[in-house]
């Protein structure tokens, strides 16, 4: 049954090759060059889907992206929902079925590759029809860098569907010759199967190239299936053509009702006759081209129904020659048929009144209500549109400085005009770029009579026996009727944007290409306003459906988000670490041994640090080198405490606040030399702190002679922690006097550790005797291994971030960003000691004096001890004063910021920000959780080694 509607010699097909496919369970064949839609029509299949709301049969109405009906679900080779049959190139083995509006996403991962490529050009031409081709050729011959993108696999655009000649030969031969010349230019990129879908700022146009879709299962797996081109163009010419629009009449949705130009395309491009006996209903001259070409190819044209009172003599003559009856002043008022149209109802139409109806039998009704220039991308670019009553369409009102239109997209209707338009548009574009122009020669066009004016007709009134508009479909995909539009205006809606949202017209995959302007027209008539004042709804990208996979491109799996690792990462992986994401970093979380739970592993790691020796990878800490004569001045302004008095060789802890006085970051500051400091930041804040410091330095204090340099990744940083850390260090740093007097707390030494030049700092984030060993990153792995070996006799244990958190929380060392949230001052953290009283000013100081920050009921950091020592409270839990939850609004006292199980304390504990927390020490408060309230005792924040006796070992 395949190919029964195929002509003998039309079309651009490889007829020698047969492709087999299955649609709705039935096997058909087609040829390379077919779309799924053309292959179905060649087999006589019109009904391909069912209306989403009313369940009515739906057919193929168009031949391109404007198709409102023929949505299909691809089942094989890979499931993909919501494609239009008119844009799916046929391939062997395709299995598809029609969709009633909604598809089904695959539940399997898509194995295909998708990618992105940046391109740059002087002139981007979108569309390879007659205007686009002369535009691109002019640009290329003028020496410009050109990208030409076209959605079809073959060049020619509208020429593919017609029978025009250029220079006395088929127009498609001219198109092929132009493309061949363009493809040979080194500065021209020709992209076929590529649809521009979005115009963004500064000449950025995004286009989707379907690279291997047409190969089906034969697509090579290593080639990207689809590619998003990011084309940065200095000038853009949209030669995107025009979309034919229908006229609304009763039962205008039956299969077999098709746009007239689309039927001509099915003949010219695919050699398909969409029916045996057609009625043509038109409001302008263009449909006669379709009628005549189809008649010449063997289709019976039962009648041409022309809404205009008179028809040009040459058209009447051409029709008469072929025995085609023409009925001027008539309209189609309705149709009959179930799965396929069987009859068109025709009536005279004058002064807004219908005459007596008569049925005309047909299996195809071709409709032409005029043409809408394809202005979506021009409009996205900010191009103004104006209503032109002559074609009855919204057309570009001139050009933008960098964006132009040409050909049918500009409202030009003749072939000769389109060809000339392309040259003119690019000449303007090149002039804007101050480049000279070498115009492409215009091929000779066969003389045609000028077109007579069309009649603007949005809809035909319903005959009196049906409620007006209740069977007239505006948006066929959304099953939205004329009555829906009238209900919207009846409800008081006056803007087409509001009508769009009320009716959902134009919100489907086709972006209302066949329904949008019609809606404006119907609204204008209903409200009695000028459509020119009403305008269109706004065009937004993407202009065609684009799969999320294409947008994601290669940013999937391991490339989804950069994974940052330290130089020690391979060791952590080898030793079974589980990782925690800290920003983009992967940090060892804990190192479970065989059979250990997380709790087991963390308790073991904590015990090692408190009783023996343990080490971790601290390399992710931000590190900033601060160098110059005014380094101390800058740090004094940015830290709350005094840094300029620090002596070389010594270390000081510091807090940075914002101008609002809220703690922003903390870390240690090392004085390397008189004019050089090294400061550390928290892992997640490294880039932000450097940018913040640079902002003050560059914008407010450019007179300071100081430079900031990130050295975060130059160093591997290894905290070596625990009572026996001194012995381990001594064994790998023979040149270092590790004695407490020679190397006191908060000092640093340059030395050699395991053969590598190292800087060792005596600082502690656990309260234990601890060292921080810094070596150039490339020596890190070797030094880490050496420490691991040297520490083995002492039971050295590696620990991760979880243990680090437990150890620091036992000492109430806050984590900025976890225990704080941008509303917490150093004083709230119990760290008044870090706020200088000597300095006249520093960042945040003035804000400390604000009344809000002087309140006695501020939230302060305290520890909470659950009455049940095994109860681990969730971080983020709220705190109240009463054992029963009072009626809302519940007075909240604060929330838990950190919560852990402590090996050293033999119990759970939490840190919390609690209103007037330090004055509540000893009180019992409550944490409401899942219907119960858990009693907790407020405690001094430091729970372990309150005297600080352990840091010297």
């Amino acid at each position: 049954m395949s190919d029964t509607y195929r002509t003998a010699d039309h079309g651009h097909l490889d007829r020698g090759t047969t492709l087999s496919f299955v649609f709705d369970g039935v096997r058909y064949t087609g040829h390379p060059g077919d779309t799924l839609a053309s292959a179905l029509l060649a087999s006589g299949v019109h009904r391909v889907a069912t209306g989403i709301k009313y369940g009515r049969p739906r057919g193929i109405m168009a031949a391109g992206v404007e198709e409102p009906n023929a949505l299909v679900q691809i089942e094989a080779p890979f499931p993909e929902p919501m494609l239009t049959a008119t844009t799916v190139e046929l391939y062997d083995g395709l299995v598809a079925r029609g969709l009633g509006g909604q598809g089904r996403l695959s539940d399997q991962p898509d194995p295909a590759r998708y990618d992105t490529l940046h391109a740059h050009c002087d002139v981007l031409v979108v569309g390879a029809g007659p205007a686009g081709l002369t535009a691109a050729l002019t640009a290329a011959r003028s020496g410009a860098r050109v990208v030409l993108a076209d959605e079809l696999p073959l060049p020619g655009g509208s020429l593919l569907g017609g029978a025009e000649t250029l220079d006395g030969a088929p127009a498609t031969a001219w198109a092929t010759a132009v493309i061949d010349e363009l493809a040979a230019c080194p500065d021209v990129t020709v992209l076929s199967r590529t649809t521009a879908f979005g115009h963004y700022d500064d000449g950025l146009v995004l286009a989707l190239e379907k690279r291997t879709d047409h190969l089906g299962a034969a697509a090579p797996a290593h080639v990207s299936r689809q590619r998003i081109w990011r084309i940065r163009a200095r000038q853009v010419v949209y030669a995107t053509g025009a979309y034919e629009r229908p006229v609304a009449f009763d039962d205008n949705d039956r299969p077999g009702i098709m746009l007239a130009g689309s039927a001509r395309t099915y003949l010219g491009r695919f050699g398909v006759l969409a029916g045996r006996r057609a009625v043509v209903f038109t409001t302008d001259d263009s449909a006669y081209r379709a009628a005549l070409d189809l008649a010449d190819a063997g289709m019976r044209i039962a009648a041409v129904i022309d809404a205009r009172e008179s028809v040009a003599a040459h058209l009447l003559a051409a029709c008469a020659e072929r025995g085609i009856e023409v009925r001027p002043g008539h309209v189609v008022t309705g149709t009959s048929g179930i799965d396929r149209i069987s009859r068109a109802h025709v009536a005279p139409f004058a002064d807004g009144a219908l005459g007596e109806r008569q049925g005309v039998d047909c299996d195809l009704l071709l409709v032409c209500g005029g043409w809408n220039p394809a202005v979506a991308l021009f409009s996205q670019a900010g191009g103004p549109l104006v209503y032109d009553p002559e074609p009855g369409a919204f057309v570009p009102a001139g050009a933008l400085p960098t964006v132009r239109t040409a050909g049918a997209a500009r409202g030009t209707t003749t072939l000769a005009g389109c060809l000339a338009d392309g040259v003119d548009a690019v000449a303007d574009a090149l002039a804007a770029l101050e480049r000279s122009v070498s115009p492409a020669p215009l091929p000779a066009v066969a003389a045609t009579a000028p077109a007579a004016p069309g009649r603007v007709l949005w809809r035909v009134p319903s005959p009196q026996d049906t409620p007006d508009g209740s069977h007239q479909f505006v948006d066929l995909q959304r099953d939205a009727l004329v009555t829906d539009v009238l209900r919207a205006t009846g409800a008081g809606l006056r803007s087409v944007e509001h009508v769009k949202r009320y009716t959902t017209i134009g919100t489907a995959h086709d972006q209302g290409r066949t329904s949008g302007v019609m809606t404006s027209g119907i609204v204008a008539e209903a409200l009695g306003v000028d459509i020119a004042d009403l305008g269109t709804t706004r065009f937004r990208p993407p202009a065609v459906p684009v799969a999320f996979a294409a947008f994601a491109g290669r940013n999937r799996g391991e490339l989804f988000d950069p994974v940052r690792v330290t130089a020690l990462h391979p060791w952590h992986v080898e030793h079974g670490a589980l990782f925690e994401d800290v920003g983009q970093w992967k940090r060892p979380w804990y190192y479970p041994r065989e059979g250990e739970s997380m709790d087991d592993a963390v308790q073991r790691e904590c015990r090692a640090a408190r009783e023996g020796v343990a080490m971790m990878d601290g390399s992710t800490l931000g590190k900033i080198d601060v160098q110059g004569p005014d380094a101390g001045v800058l740090l004094d302004r940015l830290y709350t405490n005094l840094m300029s008095t620090l002596k070389p060789g010594r270390i000081r802890y510091g807090v940075m606040c914002g101008v609002d006085g809220m703690a922003m970051d903390d870390g240690t500051v090392i004085r390397l030399a008189e004019e050089e400091f090294l400061l550390t930041t928290t892992t997640g804040n490294a880039a932000r702190v450097l940018e913040w410091m640079e902002e003050w330095l560059q914008t407010e204090w450019p007179e300071l002679r100081v430079h900031l340099t990130s050295v975060t990744e130059h160093w591997v940083t290894i905290p070596l922690v625990g009572p026996r850390s001194r012995e381990v260090l001594a064994s790998v740093a023979p040149g270092l006097d590790v004695g407490n007097d020679a190397f006191p707390f908060m000092s640093w030494r340059d030395t050699t550790v395991a053969g590598a030049a190292a800087r060792v700092c005596r600082i502690s984030f656990s309260g234990e005797l601890a060292y921080e060993i810094n070596v150039p990153a490339w020596d890190g792995l070797a030094v880490w291994r050496a420490l691991y070996t040297a520490g083995a006799p002492f039971g050295l244990t590696t620990y991760g971030t979880e243990t680090m958190h437990v150890l620091r929380a036992e000492k109430a060392y806050p984590i900025i960003g976890q225990d704080t949230d941008g509303t917490v001052t150093p004083q709230d953290l119990g760290m008044s000691w870090v706020v200088s009283r000597k300095k006249a000013d520093f960042m945040g100081k003035r804000s400390f004096a604000r009344p809000e920050n002087q309140r006695t009921d501020r939230k302060e950091l305290v520890a909470l001890l659950p009455a049940d020592e095994r109860r681990l409270l969730p971080e983020g839990a709220q705190i109240i004063a009463t054992s029963t939850v009072p009626a809302p609004p519940v007075p909240m006292l604060g929330h838990i910021t950190s919560s852990y199980r402590s090996d050293a304390l033999g119990r759970t504990f939490a840190l919390a920000l609690v209103r007037s927390g330090t004055r509540r020490i000893g009180e019992t408060l409550y944490v409401p959780l899942d219907g119960e309230t858990v009693p907790v005792t407020v405690s001094e924040p430091v729970l372990f080694d309150k005297e600080g006796a352990r840091r010297d070992g």
């Binding site: 500064d202 940018e691 640079e694 902002e695 560059q698 100081k845 003035r846």
Partner: protein, 115 residues
């Protein structure tokens, strides 16, 4: 993806830049000379005009330099970019852009403080 003209590196995609809020809001020379309201104005209040707005931007993924830009908040168009320390260029079609001066602020370029 908008292009922003870095005064040093030329046009780059906006993803390379960080926004820094209103420009020309000088840090007060002596914050402690301000009363609480004046200080709060400096810390918390910024202009939010419809139209040209002088802003700070940082070329974060490029040369790491902070610079100023005059941007139209309606169209997002960058009307001008200029280096820190340079005066803001005149807004096309209007009177020269004015420094917004926090109470008590002492802008370096010699303008008088407003309080």
């Amino acid at each position: 993806m908008q292009l922003i003209e870095c005064p040093w590196c030329g046009a780059r995609e906006e993803a390379e830049f960080h926004y820094g809020g209103q420009a020309h809001v000088a840090h007060p020379e002596d914050p402690h000379a301000l009363d609480d309201e004046q200080w709060a104005r400096y810390v918390f209040f910024r202009d939010n005009p419809k139209g040209p707005f002088a802003e700070r931007w940082a070329h974060a993924a490029g040369c790491r330099r902070w610079f100023n830009a005059l941007r139209d908040t309606v169209t997002h168009e960058f009307l001008a970019v200029y280096r820190v320390g340079d005066p803001p260029p005149p807004v096309p079609g209007t009177a020269p852009a004015t420094h917004r001066t926090a109470p008590g602020a002492q802008p370096r370029q010699g303008q008088e403080a407003t309080s």
